[in-house]
């Protein structure tokens, strides 16, 4: 099939942040994907790469989109080397589907996503991570190899299929968090983990964020090893601490007892299916209602200051229905109200010394015009921009939308 035959007209269903792409392509091979990119480069077509579309609206609003390339035709599991604890998977496979297949060998990729449609390519490109990052890090920490389609039509590899490997430049790291601005991810190889033999979750409730922050500090300094450790605040009224312990059966029980001993508020225990449902609900909470979703981070010791900062945001006339935070200092907040109030709140967050990297993920077009979604550029972004010119000289990939 030639490139032109694979293209179809974009429709309103293909819209990215409200902009309908002129053309849509769903390549079914790495070569097809690479040819599309080379062709788009020659024509200077603004191109957006997408997977399940769950995070495609992130970024600055597009001026125009000439071509949207989807990876739904590249969704195969290439190899699950279960005895080696590695997997190679095409970019278009969803995380949910991948983990379902890995579970047949009692293994999993330790990444969690709020979105059922999220694909491996999109997860790597955004380096988006859920509560499990407390123990396992972000997707870049599990990634050991990539195949990339470059804008000049070449297909290249970096890393490999072994967990330990320092040969050559780690281009997999470079595309992590690149938001589709440098190259298209064709496939990715990850190291995996065995599914823990036992798991339990403790849920503790607090009347205010300060009390919660004290317990977080106590747990942080203890020998309790949590796989997921999250804070939730609902309407700034209820504060909840979620703690997941997963290890061998006796160790899980003993660790839960130790955590219980350290907490000032007696927690309830949630197990089995109820436990998975609880985490699933928790991870979706920031996204589950109307409003703007903002990501930011802080130093763990600044948690009390973050609590105070969020408490003051309503001064601008907006509400804070949900705040979820990882104890390592990364969180999401949903803000509702007038765009101008939310913009003022975001400006305040950016001005605060308690938090950093305030990025607007989901927002109305108007709000995106009021504040830059990415915030001020970093030193790394300046280096990345030099690489962008090398990787994408025609500036077609997510042009003007991404972080670089």
């Amino acid at each position: 099939m030639s490139v032109s035959e694979a293209l179809r007209q974009g429709t309103s269903e293909d819209a990215v942040d409200g902009v309908v792409p002129s053309q849509v392509a769903l390549p079914e091979s790495a070569d097809g994907l690479a040819r599309l990119l080379a062709d788009a480069s020659r024509r200077g077509q603004h191109t957006v790469l997408g997977g399940g579309g769950s995070k495609l609206g992130w970024g600055r609003p597009p001026a125009r989109i000439d071509l949207a390339i989807g990876t739904s035709g590249l969704d195969r599991l290439i190899a699950h080397r279960h005895a080696d604890l590695t997997v190679t998977v095409q970019a278009g496979m969803t995380l949910v589907s991948l983990n379902r297949q890995l579970a047949e060998h009692r293994q999993f990729l330790p990444i969690d996503s709020a979105f059922a449609a999220a694909t491996i390519g999109g997860i790597v490109a955004t380096n988006d991570a859920g509560p499990m990052r407390h123990r396992y890090g972000t997707p870049r920490d599990s990634l050991i190899g990539v195949t990339l389609a470059m804008t000049d039509g070449r297909i290249v590899k970096a890393g490999g299929t072994v967990v330990k490997n320092v040969a050559g430049y780690d281009l997999g790291k470079l595309v992590s968090g690149s938001h589709g601005t440098l190259a298209a991810i064709v496939d990715a190889t990850f190291k995996l983990l065995p599914i823990p033999l036992a798991s339990t979750t403790l849920v503790a409730s607090y009347a205010d964020g300060k009390a919660l922050a004290r317990d977080v500090a106590a747990l942080h300094a203890s020998q309790v090893e949590l796989t997921s450790f999250d804070i939730v605040s609902l309407n700034q009224e209820r504060w909840i601490l979620l703690m997941r312990l997963a290890s061998s059966p006796a160790a899980t029980t003993a660790q839960a007892a130790e955590a219980r001993r350290l907490l000032s508020s007696a927690p309830t225990t949630v197990n089995a299916e109820e436990e998975n449902a609880l985490w699933s609900e928790h991870i979706q909470a920031p996204w589950a209602g109307e409003g703007t979703v903002v990501r930011f981070s802080w130093s763990p010791s600044s948690l009390p200051a973050v609590v105070e900062l969020l408490g003051g945001v309503s001064r601008h006339g907006c509400q804070v229905p949900v705040f979820t935070g990882r104890t390592i200092g990364a969180g999401l907040v949903r803000l509702t109200g007038e765009d101008s109030s939310i913009a003022a709140a975001i400006t305040e967050l950016r001005a605060s010394r308690a938090v950093g990297h305030v990025v607007v993920l989901r927002a109305s077009r108007r709000l995106k015009e009021l504040v830059d979604v990415w915030g001020p550029p970093t030193g790394a972004n300046e280096v990345a921009r030099v690489l962008k010119r090398t990787f994408d000289p025609a500036n077609i990939l997510n042009a003007g939308r991404g972080p670089i």
Partner: protein, 482 residues
Amino acid sequence: MDQRIVDLFREAIGPDAVLTEPVQLVTYECDALPHLRSLPEVVVLPRSAADVQKIVRICDREAVPFVARGHGTGLSGGALPVPGGVIISLARLNRVLDVDIPNRRVTVEPGVTNLEITRQVAPFGYYYAPDPSSQQVCSLGGNIAENSGGAHCLKYGFTVHHILAVEAVLPNGDLVQIGSPLADAPGPDVLGLLVGSEGTLAVVTKAVVRILRKPESVQTLLAAFDSISAAGAAVSEIIAAGIVPAAVEMMDQVAIEAAEAAVHPNFPPADTILIVELDGPSPEVAELFGIVEATCRQTGATRVEIARDEAQRQRIWKGRKAAFAAMGRISPNYYVQDGVVPRTKLPDVLGRIRQLAERESIRIGNVFHAGDGNLHPLICYDERIAGQSALAERVAGEILIYCVEAGGSITGEHGVGADKTEFMPKMFSADSLDVMQSVRDAIDPKRLCNPGKVLPTPRLCGEVPGPYREHPVERAGLAERF
């Protein structure tokens, strides 16, 4: 080098920070891969990031190649001097700038040793996880360049997983902050690219590292097996049981013999020795360690010894960590190789290595990180016998081909450096290497930053492959090869 440029260096950072006397320069002619050596013409010893910037700016303006160097313990010739170039030693940037226990991070200059970070935080119950065996003397800057691992990286990952941010001087002299002490800095992971780039993209002048809580409990056992395949089966069973050990190490007969001759760890007689270490919360370690012990016995261990205390644990590790240096007890010279295979291919590849040893009538000892398939074959030879040095080098190269054919890598932790650039095309296509070169050219368009390393280019002049010679730090008993 032009005297004018040497004078520029002296003016920039002071005459006492610029070395040009051959007797001073000889220390810098090689790293811990001494068969690649080349006497530098100039060595500079900056005291600050501003000094590094001044030197790099002169290099940029005058087109002088430069090579950043930590403490010279690298095993791939990454710090090998470049003809006509300058060595930038970061040894004087050796301050610990900040220890932040509540936020679990430490800020250091690149000349601080790996172990010094742990020393700083140990009183608070923390440690810095990556543990290359040269950790007493190797520099953090060198660890960042090489993305160093160690025996415990199976569970804890490599240097790249423990560096939060760096300050670095780019080849054009710009000082940039890459990464962030805070999570989720938006944009491509440039820090992840920089870590492991072997000093070819920037000179790191400061780093913020993550520290971890010291595990509550550590348990170590040593199991003796009659065959590599039985030991390999034990490892497979342990991992299939859902256990991720902190370390899984193996030694074969030649390596055991050498270790016994050198440090007398009193290992039991065995074809293969397996060392398994678990760490973590006490109840977890206690429960899982029982499974590990039972698995070793079920898969045919002829003997299982459990370290009852820290002294016994240290004895086991001493035998393991001394294995490289110990080869000197049973062979006049040896060549340390570093390759990786998928863990399940270990028995096959070790079988091929044994056949190769027989065919070439050369002794090869094997010490490896069995959990992640990282092999360290030790090729024994005698440089006094004509042709043996060349044979050892050829055999070492052939082993790398086995690794690539098994789906592995030409280096797991020592780096490509100046030593293995010719093997890069065995692992990566011309297009892949070309894109990597374009990354380098984008950041270092004048090709001055550690040229000739990592990516294949014609061999450097003055680079004469030769036999292993003991490095001064090894001779002084300060470092071992791992």
